[in-house]
Symmetry: C2
Subunit: 362 residues, 2 copies
């Protein structure tokens, strides 16, 4: 890489921050469609404090209420050893070498009430660092209009100012998120315009604009997935032919390599998956010296905490890392609305260009 291009990427980040500041706009009431469109045009986030305080969901979604509505209905739960669903995670290969993979969670159906009991017990009665598997309802597949449709009538069908401004017929997806303080969503970006609404507990967002792509160290990661341990003969299918491989000579089973506090009795194991690699940011703005690029120090992440009833406009293609705190009842509940982003116009191709140039500087 030649210096001039580095300079251009650095200038971009510096000028972006100079022109935009690093403090998120806080509105005291919801914007009009036109006011919102000015933010969408600038690809600039804002938070509206208390905008959803009068939502039926905000007023009614106690643990008892949710259990009464959903009971033992099966719900899809993401299970990980340390709250790291869809996150870059060290994987130890059979030969002892280690590399980062994109670790998807183990997914399984659990009765809703049991899931909530486990979550609350872990949140309220277990030490924060006590090792145990982490469960998170986070399917992001329009689950509030499907799996959790009994709860959907308690939130607005759409966010009117977003729908009108974006010329959308409806939200592309409405997602419900139920988890606890152990779950962290790793820094990533979505090709959606996103309105995120906190119902219970708090979410802590770290935000970076697309112009900072050179800071986040986007690399191609092999996909992996946590699985509950099974017999060796069943799980060893390294050549992907659907047949178990011959049992190898006994060797020490590699431990999952996620963090220092894993439960040695956890029955979750990270396995490589076939399929295309996943371009993913491996820089964590909360550990700025790890996996940094030469541009990471120029990034000025924007931080905002959503309290119950707060609403965040998270513009398309913004990198975001999300941590959470649970409510006094021991849950963190949020709803988000995804609207299709605009791929025509200048923003998407220009952002892709910066991403391409940043990728070539490695």
């Amino acid at each position: 890489m030649e210096a001039p291009y580095e300079d251009a990427l650095a200038e971009l980040m510096i000028s972006y921050h100079e022109l935009n500041g690093t403090v998120i706009d806080e509105l005291t009431e919801e914007p009009s469609p036109l006011e919102f469109m000015r933010y969408a045009a600038r690809n600039t986030p804002f938070v509206v404090r208390g905008a959803a305080l009068d939502w039926e969901a905000t007023q009614t979604w106690s643990v008892d209420y949710l259990k009464a509505v959903l009971g033992d209905d099966p719900v899809n739960i993401a299970v990980t050893p340390a709250g790291n669903a869809d996150a870059p995670t060290p994987y130890t290969h059979p030969d002892g070498t280690t590399s980062l993979v994109f670790a998807k969670p183990h997914e399984e159906d659990q009765p809703f009430s049991s899931f909530l009991d486990y979550l609350i017990d872990q949140e309220k009665h277990r030490p924060q660092r006590a090792p145990a598997e982490v469960r998170y309802a986070q399917t992001q597949n329009d689950n509030l209009r499907n799996e959790y449709s009994l709860l959907y009538p308690q939130v607005p069908r759409t966010i009117p100012w977003a729908r009108v401004a974006l010329g959308a017929r409806d939200a592309d997806a409405v997602n419900l998120w139920i988890g606890g303080a152990r779950s962290v969503t790793a820094l990533h970006r979505d090709n959606y315009e996103n309105v995120y609404v906190q119902i219970r507990g708090r979410k802590h967002f770290v935000l970076l604009p697309p112009a900072c792509v050179a800071a986040v160290n986007e690399v191609e990661l092999r996909p992996g997935r946590y699985r509950r341990r099974r017999g060796k003969a069943e799980k060893r299918d390294g050549d992907g032919d659907g047949e178990p491989e011959p049992e190898p000579e006994p060797e020490p089973e590699p431990e999952p390599q996620v963090g220092p506090d894993l439960d040695p009795d956890l029955d979750l194991e990270l396995e490589l998956e076939d399929g295309p690699s996943v371009p993913f940011a491996i820089w964590d703005p909360d550990k700025p010296d790890v996996n940094a690029t030469r541009y990471s120090r120029l990034a000025q992440p924007m931080r905002v905490t959503l309290n119950p009833g707060d609403m965040l406009y998270l513009p398309c293609m913004w990198y975001h890392k999300v941590s959470q705190s649970s409510s006094p009842e021991g849950v963190c509940i949020a709803v988000n609305y995804w609207y299709d982003m605009e791929f025509s116009g200048a923003l998407y191709p220009l952002t892709t260009f910066v991403r391409t140039v940043a990728g070539k500087t490695k």
Copy 2:
């Protein structure tokens, strides 16, 4: 320059055109502020056919009317040998070498009626290629609210949908343009949101988005200006000290080097000016093989002709070349409204980044 960056610039232009097409949107009525804001957000032009047909200006600005209102009031006129105000123009140095300079017009005050008589005579009674100086009222300094303020009441003070959408108090400038078919505005860009309105005659726009910056061959040009010839002792002040240089040995006076059809008796001479160089596009989409870059062939210029009463939204930072045809009376008259563009947000820094990278490929 390494190939990967060329590829990225080429990919940008290709994907921009794929996502946006190359045909301008035609609206049959003016947009609402929100509809306009969607275009501004995409940095995408449109034309509204007939939007200004009911303007008082469109209905009243005959040659007789204009002469009756403005009479012999002095107005600032740009004078060039070939209609090339503010254009890259070959300059022959005293040593015989030639280079492109950014040629500003000679400016002088003329009685309005005389200016119009000259223009109309040239348009209606002289062969198109007959050499003679070209005059154009094109001051672009908010002249309709100043120099031509007697005409200002006949146009709307502002374009309501643009003002409301952009959150502007008022237009930053309202400009009147009066010229003929010999004047061409060279490909350039402005850091303004622009609403351009045709009153008499026609304007022929060639448009290129900011994503095509690598195609337009932006280079640093020395500034120059046309001057009416004066005595040699007066005009030769090559060292810029304000004092004429000693009379040099007689040598052939270099001819202005603009085109093949210059009047040998023209009294206009291009002189270099002191001052910073001007970054300017030297590629002409109508002569695609001249001054081309390796990306020029990927640019797909958008062309649109404005007829009387038509309105064009020309988004900020779009390259535009403008030619014109005169009305049956022999004039081409237009009005444009400049609104401040948005420098915060993503578009300006991302566009600057592409421009920087494109500049480094040379």
